[in-house]
Amino acid sequence: MRQRRTFIFSCLCFGYAFLYIPILTMIAWSFNDSRLMSVWTGFSLRWYQALWQNEQIIDAALLSLRIAFVSATFATLLGTLAALAMSRLGRFRGRTAFSGMLAAPLVMPEVITGLSLLMLFVSLQGLLGWPAKRGADTIAIAHITFAMAYVAVVVQARLTAMDRSLEEAAMDLGGRPMGVTLDITLPLIAPAMLSGWLLAFTLSLDDLVIASFVSGPESSTLPMVIYSKVKLGIAPDVNALAAVIVSIVGLGVLAAGWLMLRTARRHTTGAP
């Protein structure tokens, strides 16, 4: 029994170590004074200062955030509509085909998605003259296309789990279909829509492959900049950037956990 516990405990430690030691090492090295990754010469914040002054990285980060925000919002909108159609329209013509095509981007290799979208944009440019150049717009469109499928899956799961009689009751009480969707359905799937939005935001933020295919010369997203910098050798300011990102994500997770705990407490104590 005791042996078993020791074994399980060491497995746990090893697993966590495997996950987090690389990240922690990277954060530690971001405070190294030296340019070299192999020698520790002392504690310094100079790479954070260098990061702050690196316009290329700052611009790329802002561009990534902008694209992520826009594409997550549109993906949530379209994905929710698709989920509503899938779970509330009954058995319409072509439902099976639609359902399969909605899930396809989830399993499609990113290289294929990226390549096909690139070809689409190129031929559209030839035919219609739009998009005039590839850049933030085309990246956003590409991200909407594949993130929409993730949102649809998340929202559809919530819609399927939802008690249909809630909507029927609202309709029975005099609600028109549109009103019922606004009064009952949307508030109840809002948490799923929020998770879908966050998922789409994250997917867009760290996508490298698809963005590389459909971006233009003047629009490099943050992952693209990091990747190209690392190709020229590990730069300490990239370490600093990673540390900043990890702290932001960590804080976000902590805040979300705290919020959830607070709501759960409120539900159990019954206070308004």
Binding site: D163, S165, A169, D172, L173, G174, D183, L188
Partner: protein, 378 residues
């Protein structure tokens, strides 16, 4: 009070001149070619508490959902108060429904739940508040008006659902298994509350249930449903005392069935029965009887005695107590007759003394008068 011309009828359904409040005419619903409701016609009168009773999958819920407007009938018509409703959407019907799952909106407070229907109707703010208050008082939830549904018990949520359905003053209230999710004592209390509320408001109730006890206690009339059709429609007494088929007899309460043959042409009141060895006394229907049919007897109609019973028109069997169960207010006996047929008998324990109490393996006579024998041909 003014005397009407047709006051010789105590109940509207006995009066052929009475206009039905709800008229269901040849209603049919198919799912993928399979009929869930298979041509049902029915008149329901104003102020009735009508129960549709049947096992799961008999089509009773589909029928209710067609009345509410959630399912479009394949064929047939529905009229409520003289207006055709067959193809109207739920929000355009003067019906409200109480769902089995209660379907209380989780993100609204109790008061907002009840107010929803009135707001959709465009009722003014002040009136909404007054009517919601009135309804919450009716279901005794005034103190809970600001609570969210998750802070309420199942019984309280059900009362919210009831108040929400009644606040719009529907012409018909539809109830889908209203008491199924409540525990026994709460169920009994709610039964009486429902009957009181129905009495107070005079709204016509149609309820769907699989629980025969619930139907018997609540309803003015019951329709027993099987495989998409009504097997029998009648008052609880009619259904219980005069079932028209083996299905109804079996579904409502327990009953003893004896397989019988008519003895020659002379027997008008006596039928032969191999299962009992002795003929059974019964009032035979006027219509021609088939070669084989059943005679049904309710367990509480049979008397047990140690001495040979005497009387006109009694069917008398002899057997041995094989099993007995004491329930306090009554006891259940299973008696094996000399011919090997197992008969269920229930008897009231009206007296406290145990001198009459029968024991296991005791020899007894069973007897019942002929008007308690029900002849079932289908």
């Amino acid at each position: 009070m003014q005397e009407s011309d047709n006051n010789q009828f105590r109940n509207p359904w006995e009066d052929p001149a009475a206009a039905p409040f709800i008229r269901i005419d040849g209603l049919r619903k198919e799912f993928d070619g399979f009929p869930a409701v298979d041509g049902v016609s029915l008149n329901i009168y104003k102020g009735e508490l009508f129960a549709i009773l049947g096992g799961s999958g008999c089509g009773k819920s589909t029928l209710l959902r067609m009345l509410a407007g959630f399912e479009a009938p394949t064929a047939g018509q529905v009229f409520i108060d003289g207006v055709e409703m067959t193809h109207l959407p739920p929000f355009a019907r003067p019906t409200n429904m109480m769902f089995q799952s209660y379907a209380v909106f989780p993100h609204y407070s109790v008061a907002d739940n009840v107010a929803y229907g009135l707001k959709k109707e465009g009722v003014g703010k002040g009136e909404v508040r007054a009517r919601v208050q009135e309804m919450l008082e009716l279901v005794q939830l005034q103190e809970f008006a600001k609570r969210k549904p998750r802070q309420l018990s199942g019984g309280q949520q059900q009362r919210v659902a009831l108040a929400r359905a009644l606040v719009k003053r529907p012409k018909v209230l539809l109830l889908d298994e209203p008491l199924a999710a409540l525990d026994k004592s709460l169920r009994e209390r709610t039964q009486f509350e429902l009957m009181n509320i129905q009495d107070q408001l005079g709204i016509t109730f149609i309820l769907v249930t699989h629980d025969q006890e619930e139907a018997m206690t609540l309803a003015t009339r019951i329709a027993v449903m099987d495989a998409g059709r009504f097997v029998q429609v009648g008052t609880p007494t009619e259904i219980y005392e005069y079932p028209n088929s083996r299905f109804v007899a079996d579904f409502i309460g327990t009953i003893n069935l004896f397989r019988c043959h008519q003895r020659g042409n002379d027997g008008t009141a006596v039928v032969a029965c191999e299962e009992t060895g002795v003929p059974i006394q019964a009032d035979l229907p006027e219509a021609e009887l088939p070669d084989a049919f059943d005679v049904a007897v309710r367990p509480e109609k049979i008397r047990l005695s140690r001495q040979t019973p005497e009387g006109e028109g009694l069917t008398i069997l002899h057997g041995m107590v094989e099993d007995l169960a004491y329930y306090g207010n009554h006891s259940l006996y299973r008696v094996r007759t000399d011919q090997g047929k197992l008969v269920q008998v229930s008897s009231q324990n009206a007296h406290r003394s145990a001198e009459l109490a029968l024991e296991w393996d005791e020899q007894v006579y069973l007897s019942w008068p002929k008007d308690c024998s029900v002849v079932l041909t289908q």
